[in-house]
Amino acid sequence: MSKPIIVTATLLLTGLLGTVTARADEVEQVFGFYCAQCHGTEGKGDGPNVTDDFPVDPRNFTKAEEMEKLSDADIKNVILQGGPVASKSPMMPPWGKTLSEAQVDALVKHLRKLCNCEGKEG
């Protein structure tokens, strides 16, 4: 393979990896900014809002046995419309007027990484 082709391919691959990395950093920043206040920085449901008298237990995203029961669509709906759409607590805010759809989709993928699991179909 000629040198120019190798250099071009390397640059393209680096650019692609850079884009993927940037997106991973972005969703972590989104999670840390909006979600961690209740769900904790590691998604374990232990954010600073969860005081002893907090009325509900925010979802622990690292618990695969719970996360597997939810489809990606279930998770997306709750993020967009808040807890009541899934008969959950209104302490989970509706983020649909705050986050973009791209951010919400990225968050769903991020939660799957946290539980290292896939959800049910649907």
Binding site: Q29, V30, G32, F33, Y34, A36, Q37, C38, T41, G47, P48, N49, V50, T51, D53, F54, P55, G82, P90, M91, M92, P93, P94, W95, K97, T98
Partner: protein, 219 residues
């Protein structure tokens, strides 16, 4: 001789009264604000600048370009002299508690800086819309239907509220009720990037007024 003493005393008292009642010019307060390095943490020229989460995280303290619309003057003047922590968490943090230590101002500086900050108003806050009122609808929305108490401490009996947002305890003395409503209605205008969700398109206008009136009663 006696007459001269009485007149001199009267003039001195009058001069003292005038000196203590004349308001400081906002420009004087702005000078003190800048000399005290307040601008290191607080920006005072609108409109809002933040476009990304990184922009917001880069800030050391809240923006003050609409301080005159947000705060009540007596509270602000007192707080600058004895700045007890408001937020539970350090600004922008979900990990660190607020360490306190906001610089305090001497009384005359607090007066002049307050004059300056109260001159910073927003045309997006309409005066005279909200009167503090303990209304059942506002309470129902704040405590049950919406997640407000999840992030904001409030004078609740059993559950006192969450820690990530600024406590609303004391809002009756600290915040302008009209600003509370304006902020709920057009949050992005004041803070385009913040941890609080937008409720302006979720709550009806009537509901926002009910919540604002309720929050404005918090002691």
């Amino acid at each position: 001789m006696r007459f001269a003493i009485i007149v001199s005393f009267g003039l001195a008292v009058t001069a003292l009264l005038v000196a203590t009642t004349v308001s400081a010019d906002p420009a004087t307060g702005e000078g003190v604000f800048n000399a005290s390095n307040c601008a290191d943490c607080h920006y005072t020229q609108g409109p809002a600048r933040e476009k990304t989460i990184s922009d917001q995280l880069a800030k050391q303290g809240p923006e003050l370009w609409y301080a005159g619309s947000k705060f009540q003057q007596p509270w602000l003047e007192q707080w600058l002299q004895d700045p007890q922590p408001i937020r539970i968490m350090k600004y922008n943090s979900v990990m660190e508690k607020n360490p306190g230590g906001h610089p305090k101002l001497a009384a005359d500086d607090a007066t002049s800086v307050t004059e300056f900050l109260m001159s910073l108003t927003s045309g997006d806050v309409e005066a005279g819309v909200i009167k503090p009122k303990k209304n059942p609808k506002g309470k129902l929305i704040f405590v049950k239907k919406m997640p407000c108490s999840g992030c904001h401490q409030f004078p609740g009996k059993k559950f006192k509220g969450g820690n990530s947002g600024p406590p609303l305890v004391g809002a009756s003395a600290r915040l302008n009720p009209d600003w509370i409503y304006a902020y709920l209605k057009n949050t992005d205008t004041f803070k385009p990037v913040r941890m609080m969700p937008n409720f302006g398109e979720i709550l009806s206008d009537k509901d926002m007024k009910s919540v604002a009136a309720f929050v404005a009663t918090f002691k």
